[in-house]
């Protein structure tokens, strides 16, 4: 078996040695904390960069910045992103923006409890989670798990409010249900 490649990494003036495999091992089975803005993609999950570095180093989250954590993980070859960037092309994004604006205006004029940007996750956003239970807020997936109770526990533990909870269907039948009497 090939040995995992480790790199020297300096965080908070301390040096650590870890590589991609160490990161994947450290995060396996961990549930992601809520993502405020930046995230790193590890396996099928998206994690706040600080959560990952804390898991690897045991440092306190106040000891380093999100940008530093993001730089380290990007340097190890992990995909990183921000929630407001999305993965849509310009045209789709513009259409979504237009729809959100219209939606917000509609809500405001209807006096329906405040104009909060709603929207739903795109098909692309949901694709990594086919077959899993998800909780979503706006266009993003907050948490994905095999069981609905795991999703609800996570929301409660992290004091998160979801807009919607469902299972991302694997088949047409799961999506449609068909009409019982």
């Amino acid at each position: 078996m090939q040995a995992s490649i480790q790199n020297p990494v300096t965080v908070a003036k301390r040096q650590f040695m870890f590589g991609r495999d160490d990161v994947e091992r450290a995060m396996a089975g961990q549930s992601p904390e809520p993502i405020a803005s930046h995230y790193v993609v590890i396996g099928e999950g998206r994690f706040p960069p600080k959560q990952v570095i804390i898991a690897l180093t045991g440092l306190d989250r106040a000891d380093f910045t999100t940008h530093h954590a993001r730089r380290i993980l990007k340097g190890l070859g992990f995909a990183v992103g921000r929630l407001d960037e999305g993965r849509l092309d310009d045209e789709t994004r513009a259409r979504a923006r237009e729809r959100r604006t219209r939606h917000r205006e509609d809500l405001a004029s209807a006096g329906a409890g405040g104009a909060r940007a709603l929207g739903r996750p795109s098909a692309q956003e949901l694709e990594p989670f086919i077959g899993k239970w998800v909780a979503t807020r706006g266009p993003h997936v907050l948490i994905a798990a095999d069981h609905p109770s795991t999703v609800v526990d996570w929301l409660a533990e992290h004091a998160q409010q979801a807009d919607s909870m469902f299972r991302v269907p694997e088949t047409e039948q799961q999506a449609s249900g068909l009409a019982p009497l």
Binding site: S149, F166, R167, L178, P180, L181
Partner: protein
């Protein structure tokens, strides 16, 4: 209250009219329900009843076939709220086991208190509470 349709990955069909409904006691996790005007009742997976702590041992039990699958529904009268809305109503919900579907089903019984508008071109559904 207006809800965007939900697009789904890897499926050939269109985005679906989904309405997010809060089942009393589960405010932070509204349940996505497929608007189904061809169904008469509101149905959700039995897991939802478990999550909100509903005791269904003494509930009325009915068998129903959904999409060719036999399932068993236990009826309970519960308070429902539209997501991000103050509008609350009571409806009988059949909590079904097994429930292999992705969403709950919001049949006609769940739409009584609303004027329902569906725009399939723009892909939204709007529920307007009616005073009656």
């Amino acid at each position: 209250m207006r809800f965007d349709f939900q697009a789904l990955p890897k499926l050939s069909g269109r985005a679906r009219p989904i309405i997010d409904v809060v089942v009393e006691g589960l405010d932070f996790a509204p349940q996505a329900c497929l608007l189904d005007t061809g169904a008469s009742e509101v149905r959700m997976g039995a897991h939802v009843a478990e999550l909100v702590g509903l005791e269904l041992d003494t509930a009325d039990v009915t068998g129903v076939v959904v999409g060719g699958l036999q399932t068993t529904g236990r009826a309970a009268r519960v308070q429902l709220t539209l997501r991000q809305s103050a509008h609350t109503w009571f409806s009988t919900v059949y909590f079904c086991d097994p429930w292999p579907w992705a969403f709950g089903l919001l049949g006609l019984a769940g739409l009584d208190p609303f004027l329902t508008i569906v725009d399939t071109y723009e892909e939204w559904v709007e529920l307007q509470p009616l005073a009656r």
